[in-house]
Symmetry: C2
Subunit: 321 residues, 2 copies
Amino acid sequence: MYTFEELSKLFIEKFEVDHFPASPKTLYDPNRYFLQLGGKRIRPVLCVMGNDLFDVINPDTWPVAKAIELFHNFTLIHDDIMDNAPLRRGMQTVHEKYGQSTALLAGDVMLVKAYDYLNAISRDYSKNIIALFNKTARQVCEGQQLDMDFEKKQEVGFEEYLNMINLKTSVLLAASLQLGAILGGASERNQQLIYEFGRKLGLAFQVQDDYLDAFGDPDKFGKQVGGDIKANKKTFLLIHALEAASADQKTALNELLHSDGDNKVEQVLAIFKACKVDQWAASLKEQFMNEAFTHLEDIAVVAKRKEPLKQLANYLVEREH
Amino acid sequence: MYTFEELSKLFIEKFEVDHFPASPKTLYDPNRYFLQLGGKRIRPVLCVMGNDLFDVINPDTWPVAKAIELFHNFTLIHDDIMDNAPLRRGMQTVHEKYGQSTALLAGDVMLVKAYDYLNAISRDYSKNIIALFNKTARQVCEGQQLDMDFEKKQEVGFEEYLNMINLKTSVLLAASLQLGAILGGASERNQQLIYEFGRKLGLAFQVQDDYLDAFGDPDKFGKQVGGDIKANKKTFLLIHALEAASADQKTALNELLHSDGDNKVEQVLAIFKACKVDQWAASLKEQFMNEAFTHLEDIAVVAKRKEPLKQLANYLVEREH
């Protein structure tokens, strides 16, 4: 049994190989560049933890974890094109550095490489693994499309926003854990529980993320507070505020969304506070966390084996940065 | 044993299902739109023919053929973005009709669906099938990247151009046949022979394509002759002309490539003819066809079973439109 930190170290070691052929460099160097930008590698490590929860680490878990991380990076490269984002982890995005067409192709070939790793595992469970991987990949694309659709929509309800976040963010965390659980020989029921644990953890994480962007301590947060508000980004907070606001508050909020004034952030935050959006977000997060932990408790393995996942979950959602 | 036309009819029937979930329509309607634009479905039918050459049709050949056609359409959607192409088969491209971000995402999800079909086949050969599919997918991406690299290069040699066309066009035809052969229980040697047959056929096809664009009969060709010349597209003809031309002809040709005059096509064609590019292309095509047919003859099955492939090959490469 290992902690997140221990497995993270092990995974990063194994992931630091060259995943791509030497040439053409014009296609593969962009992928090498992007992967060396790093990242917390949370999803692949969740996969290994999902295995470790049930049994000693199955050697096939490593290629599956690699496939998950490559898939995640593929989505980042393509999302950056769609969002026209100049920076990722403080460095140039692939399309910014190498051009859009190459970024598109480099992403494509990164996804193909993920399937190469999946094709390396034992036939005993490869069908289940690939089926869950594909379902999740499709859902992540659906989440990204809904996110883009919402940008053009005036009103987005809480339930449809929740569904979008679930697809765009949560299901990959959930599936990473379940893929590991399959490799650890978990029963169908235990697989579902770990999946739901991951899904609810993902939702709590996103609420936290939205909360910190608005109400975080600027010294601890590390980036400018209010970025989502400035960008008129739909978040848990804004969507709830529009639903909870009085008619006057709603008018004021909608006016602010169409303005670009100097104290826009302060004014939006004042309405958020008046609508008690901060308290609501804190309790929504707690609700998702409680649900996540209930699923974790229901899993039929001794409590001690669950400790690393509990610690990680608390770390991810209690963080202030 | 079936002809190309018979298998084409069978495949199109089986392919006319809804490959995608009902919602979100904003993501999946673009894919439905693109697939109903049609196409000759040559690659998936080659896959079924590769099976039919060796044995009765394995039911698993149909999902593999579907995966090949979805993969091909995924590459077309993404290539159209990269080429900024407004039309495909006379209709709006996906990015033109639905926007670039959606086209990117729709292509991604189409590739994922291809892997769903591959995951449906028997474990007995799924590893070999997916390995060849992945290798080919990677090569097609490499070919597209090289093609883009060549656009920016002043001089491209015959060998590097041949390598690019091989990757971008030929290997998918070759692999389609080999995937069918694997499903038909062909030996390793017979698999390699059918692969090489397809590869050489693809090269002959591309030479023919380039030839018709320059020297085709406008009445039979169906589209304007000289399109490649107008677009300064690197083709077998141009690359050979630049290698075979005298110093004066080369200077004239390079000047024409940088001009946009009314009779550019006529002048370039005159240099092509002076350099005997037309004869050279005809003999290059014949060479590739001869090599293709030699590989086909070497396959250890009775001659009668090879007839449909021979007929198709002649049809593809003798066509004047």
